[in-house]
Amino acid sequence: MDAFLLQILNGLDKGSAYALIALGLTLIFGTLGVVNFAHGALFMIGAFCAVTVQRILNLSFETLDLTQKDFLGNPLKIKTPYIESWFGQDIGAAIIDWSVPLAILFAIPIMVLIGFVMERGLIKHFYKREHADQILVTFGLAIVLQEVVKYFFGANPIQTPEPSALRGSVDLGMMIGFQVNEIVYPIWRLVYFFFSVTIIAGIFAFLQFTTFGMVVRAGMADRETVGLLGINIDRRFTIMFGVASAVAGLAGVMYGPLNPPNYHMGMDFLVLSFVVVVVGGMGSLPGAVLAGFMLGILESFASTTWATTTIPGINQIIIYLVAIIILLTRPRGLMGRKGVMED
């Protein structure tokens, strides 16, 4: 029972990351009809926003400590972040400690801007081209973005720790009557889960209750008609691209403390997020969210010892196996609409 609950919890947490990425992907596909292979790269850039903020906050001046020696036997250089010298060591250290949440503020404008530039500069020209062309050009873009990041930040992962107040884990099991150590879960993963759910809920509310959102939804259903009504749907779609880009970026910023960002994390998520989107049904926002959580939970359960001893290797193939089964039994994924992306 406790193991079951633990994996459900873990699945929801994993799933929230999948859902968040798939949501952005679906927003772009649903509004613009563009298959964006660079979406993973946006996620990665988001994570590197956090790295950048951390680097900026850690900009330091050096003083020589003559009592200690560095690896070459020279006096050791001690680095002190400017921030600590400006605000005093306590406040400075606290600011650095909270660099990941601070990075959210930094990431939103940056990601929206990247989204705008991408849409206006490149994607715009591909609305009428074949999906294969869209895939290729965004794939090329993804490679370029990832190589640029690698050029500046290297290939190794870089730690972006969570604030120390949110570090460590809580024994959730004890709160609801289980034994000690039965259901222990990291605080930041819970934060990530609630953060994702908030963003997802925010996007749905935005589309549901604002006039802007209503026009966008109408445009997703029937672009031409909305265009005929004299509404400048293109500009709204550009904004939606910015929003989708920001969602991917935020998912990345918050993901950093879970697993240290590296330049290829976007590609690692790309295939998976496409599977999620397709399982959910191309163009369906609720489908993407549902499929994200579903695959997260299934993945968690497939990695239990029980599952891997029953079917060896099930943890390696579960996602794909589920995708195959769903697509064969439900031709358009869980909640897909007819005629979308079938030619």
Partner: protein, 463 residues
């Protein structure tokens, strides 16, 4: 061609000569039968450095390449000579290898066996490389080693830790300076038992591919021999990026030690996840919960950041070693590049020097002669009585007295047990050496079950 000294004027000149050549068909010559593949004929000799330049291990590859460039500089008499000054064999004169200036070509393994073989082939076939070296994973090492055996050139493995490289996949043309999974287990287990007690229950997470399996097998055997119990061993997919679903059940499994048989990105993420779950703050079975990372690398430890603090593991070499060889190497590497070398850099530097030295001593670039010089000797490591304790014994390259063993072309030397440092003074100062395990303690016979199955074969000089 990537030779250092080609000037543009040189190009024009050769171009003109070549142009004349075409006009005279009488000078058509099929290349004469050489004694061995890529026999260097001019005043230079070309080595092939095959390292990951793209993909997840690109930073290690870059560090390997730095070490090779440094080694070439030293071999050609440049720089401060580095470990050439401390190396016990004094055959090298600083005038290249056998008087031939050392040049090099580079290739990108992409950490894929196919790509690595392609770039190695290109260096052999196109650039005339006489020796291939480098690499950052066992799959690549075994694949390229096999290729070099077929092609008839020497392979000096870079970073490869799987038992198979000098076990069931050993080849006469291939040589490994790096330690292996068995040695990690043999060095680590006594330290673990001493620090954490003999009554421990271990939970393994293992990367689900060849290296992970040999690592798990080795450490399991070594710890169980000292009284530990293995509660569970779970395989994790290589492509996994998040290990939460594997870590979550650990705490409630009855285990009080978690052993992460992961490397590279897998290690960084699984360790980060394990620390996140607060495992190290828990008490299980009345003992402090501990995490162990059998194979450490400083570059990867950097990715895991503060999470490595206090965590034990083993490593091939570390820059903080205080022997003369290590100090000399750190000094010349640090002076040139501004930061200390990694263990990958150290191994690659050693391999390049060892190869050059073997050629010099053999008096020939012929792979068979090189093999004889590198492992064919009769010297042996003190304190080990074994018929297999035979090969080329040297010192001064960092790990104390080292034997290049003839039976399987594996180096035997001291292995370091290290721990993540609690109070690092700089971004490089992440690990501290806890114990230097003497070579005798990590010794094994060539027919040890974990290494059995392969055949060294005979050296292949190609042509």
């Amino acid at each position: 061609m990537s030779k250092n000294d080609v000037t543009r004027r040189g190009v024009l000149k050769t171009g003109a000569i070549a142009g004349a050549g075409v006009a005279l068909p009488t000078i058509f010559t099929a290349s004469s039968a050489a004694a061995y593949v890529n026999e260097p004929t001019g005043g230079t000799v070309t080595l092939g450095f095959n390292v990951p330049q793209t993909g997840p291990y690109a930073d290690e590859g870059a560090d390997e390449l730095r070490a090779y460039e440094l080694a070439v500089e030293h071999l050609n008499g440049g720089g401060d000579g580095g470990m050439l000054n401390t190396f016990s064999s004094k055959a090298l004169q600083g005038n290249g290898i056998m008087g031939k200036k050392v040049q090099f070509v580079t290739g990108d393994t992409q950490t894929k066996s196919d790509a690595a073989r392609a770039s190695a082939k290109s260096m052999i076939e196109k650039d005339g490389a006489i020796m291939i070296t480098g690499g950052s994973s066992s799959g690549v090492a075994v694949a390229v080693q096999g290729l070099c055996q077929e092609a008839g050139v020497i392979f000096m493995a870079g970073l490869t830790h799987s038992n198979d490289t000098t076990g069931k996949d050993k080849k006469a043309n291939g040589f490994r300076h790096f330690f292996n999974a068995y040695m990690s287990g043999a060095a680590l287990a006594p330290v673990l038992a001493a620090r954490y007690g003999k009554d421990r229950k271990a939970y393994h997470l293992t990367a689900d591919y060849t290296w992970g399996w040999t690592q798990e097998e080795s450490i399991k055997a070594a710890t169980e021999a000292l009284g530990w119990e293995t509660i569970n061993a779970v395989k994790t997919p290589l492509a996994a990026t998040d290990f939460s679903s594997y870590i979550a059940p650990v705490l409630n499994s009855g285990a009080d030690v978690l052993i992460l048989n992961h490397y590279g990105g897998n290690m960084v993420n699984s360790l980060t996840n394990a620390v996140q779950f607060g495992l190290r703050e828990k008490m299980v079975n009345g003992k402090q919960f501990e995490i162990v990372v059998p194979l450490y690398s400083r570059l990867m430890a950097k990715g895991a950041g503060a999470n490595v603090k206090g965590i034990l593991g083993s490593t091939n070499w570390h820059w903080s070693l205080q022997d003369e060889g290590s100090k000399a190497f750190v000094k010349s590497f640090g002076t040139k590049y501004g930061f200390p070398p990694s263990q990958a850099a150290h191994t690659c530097y050693c391999q390049a020097v060892l190869y050059a030295d073997a050629v010099q001593r053999a008096g020939s670039f012929n792979p068979c002669a090189v093999e004889e010089a590198l492992t064919g000797g009769d010297s042996s490591l003190p304190g080990i009585s074994s018929a297999a304790n035979k090969g080329f014994l040297f010192d001064g390259l960092g790990n104390g007295q080292t034997l290049y063993r003839g039976a399987d072309h594996q180096c035997f030397k001291d292995v370091l047990v290290v721990r993540g440092k609690e109070n690092p003074t700089s971004e490089f100062d992440l690990l501290e050496v806890v114990e230097v395990t003497p070579a005798a303690q990590v010794w094994y016979e060539p027919d040890h079950p974990m290494f059995a199955g392969g055949e060294l074969g005979t050296c292949n000089p190609g042509a």
